[in-house]
Amino acid sequence: MLTAAPHLHVRRPSPTTAEFTVSTYPRNPTPALRLLLIAVGVLRLVLALGAALLLYAEYWTQFFTLASYQQSNLWLLPAAQHEFLLYHTPLGRLAQEIAARTPSWALVPLCIGAIYVAVRRIHVEERLLVLRGLGIQTRSTPGTILLGWFGGGAGAGAGGGPTRFIPTEKIRDVLINEAFWGFGVRYILVVVVEGEEGLVVVFPKLLPRREIVEEVWRGVRGCLFDEGGAGEHHHLQQQRPEKKRRFKDTKRRSGAGDGKKSPASTKENSGEEIRDRS
């Protein structure tokens, strides 16, 4: 209910740039859905804080008896806050009570589980940025909120998450493949990278459906190879009106994107540029 089926959003800021975003965030959320999402967010915050409080109380009851109260150099919080939190608020007393009564082997995993649920992302978003002459960059949201904050670094702009940049001269082809995935067969968009054993799968988490994959594939090829190497593709397209069948033929011809424009900058430089823009 909170998530939608993966859908595609294409952004073309300039004729030589295209960004394909596949997301499970509801496309046009109604006010009710927005409210619900906010409510779920608040609930997750409360859940995370409650679990943290319980863990703290458990930590306290387990390792510090009343005798060791004086030598409190191992306290996690300053003495005043500690006192206040655990003894002067009803919640603190409740937490202490629960921590004392529940065995720690049950409480600790439960709390950790609750925190994980609270910080896990509800929506997944994966992006593919295509810059003609430079290359393509993939990015997908990390599984939890925390990774987006801490692990994002320079690449963490909108959405955050790890990015992968592939310069044009390393791209041998972009194609649609079929592969066994779990208990079924999926269409996947892959990039054949020169000098790499495996293929780079675009949208690896969401694995959108065939219509989306085909649209992105056409967009990527159009944007990446439009000048120079893509002349043959356009001839092909004109000869055959059935577009659906065409991609299979192209799929079989590896190295189709050979005669491309060589990018002006080196790999490192172009990587820097992408980061600056985002």
Partner: protein, 485 residues
Amino acid sequence: MPRLTYNIAMVSDFFFPQPGGVESHIYQLATKLVDRGHKVVVITHAYADRKGIRYLTNGIKVYHVPFAIIYRSATFPTVFSFFPVFRNIMIREQIDIVHGHASLSSLCHEALLHGRTMGLRTVFTDHSLFGFADAASILTNKLLKFILSDVDHVICVSHTSKENTVLRAALDPVMVSVIPNAVVSENFRPRKYPPEPPAPNNGFGNATPAVHHLGPNDPVVIVVISRLFYNKGTDLLTASIPRILENHPNTRFIIAGSGPKSIDLEQMIEQNVLQDKVEMLGSVRHEQVRDVMIRGHIYLHPSLTEAFGTVLVEAASCGLYVVCTAVGGIPEVLPGHMTVFAKPEEDDLVVATGKAISALRANKVRTEKFHDQVKAMYSWDNIAKRTERVYKGIMGDIPEADFYGYDVGNTAAWNGESHSGVRSFALIDRLKRYYGCGVWAGKLFCLCAVIDYLLFVFCEWVFPRDRIDIAADWPRKVYHSDDDD
């Protein structure tokens, strides 16, 4: 009216890159069916260097399912773990007919069971003959009975094989068709055959290939190509060769193939000092078979059991006179003027070979004509056409009376609904059929069928149909039929 075409899934454990008879049968049949406008996908397990989804010539799509290999050692869990993948493939390829091959392929049996559960029409092709006596055969027969009691139609490669299968699986004979193997006759041309077909109007009708007589002092060369196993009659061969050479000294043997019995042959050669008359080549690849065959005049096939014997057709196509044992489906393969039959025993084999040598020496046998005759008899186009008729029959696209060749409306003779026409997919009807398989086996089979059905319902719930992408079709060929089918 547009021609009816089907989406067909060929399922077998045996497929390329592994070489073999069943493998090439599936490939040739699939190619010709694609030529007739159908869509064919092949489902097999993953081989070491062959995984995932591939395309072959003509747009045949091959699924090398990686699952089957994981649970290779245990058959039972494979039955159900293969189902979700199988269902996914069936839905995304919009399959109408599941066609399983080879009775020793567990993947094929599973696919037939799952196919029926999913409400697809199923066909099974049996490529081999089995005994009834030993424990392994009994087990295989039981399994075959389980699977075949709910299959829509069975294809056998010869009438003997049909008889065998009907007995083993207790089938109604009208639901078993006989469609033989074929050969690609272009690959099996005789030695002096004109490489190009002669111009159609050269004034002299069709030119026959030149007659090549055997000179009085030319040696007669006998070729044997078979795997050297007990069931291929290698013991018979070992016993007869010295006697044949004694009776007809101006004779040579070329033996190609390998196997556990090759050591016996080598001993025989050394004991009788026949090194200059018997040549052993070891195993040859299938594409080299023709080159070996055209070195000889007679093809000797001493097999003890054989469902069809494609190699006989290949030999005759190469213009060899065939001496073979009259076992299994062999007598059905070639017309009488191309073969000399023997009983599967030493004396008779020696006599028959003697007859063949004398006939060749007298130049009575027109072996140069064999190739064209075989070409007219065996072609994959014809096989595909007959297979297509089976498909039409089980899909109900040709009238039942036409397909089964009797008055199916006459229910008195066929005991109501139990006749083998188009079979009901209702679970209760399927269970009835399985229950009849045996006292204990029937119940076990019913249990399997019920579990399979529950798994199907579970899959429909967990992996709904509308979430599965429909695969893009390879451009279909338009078949311009030259006959009224």
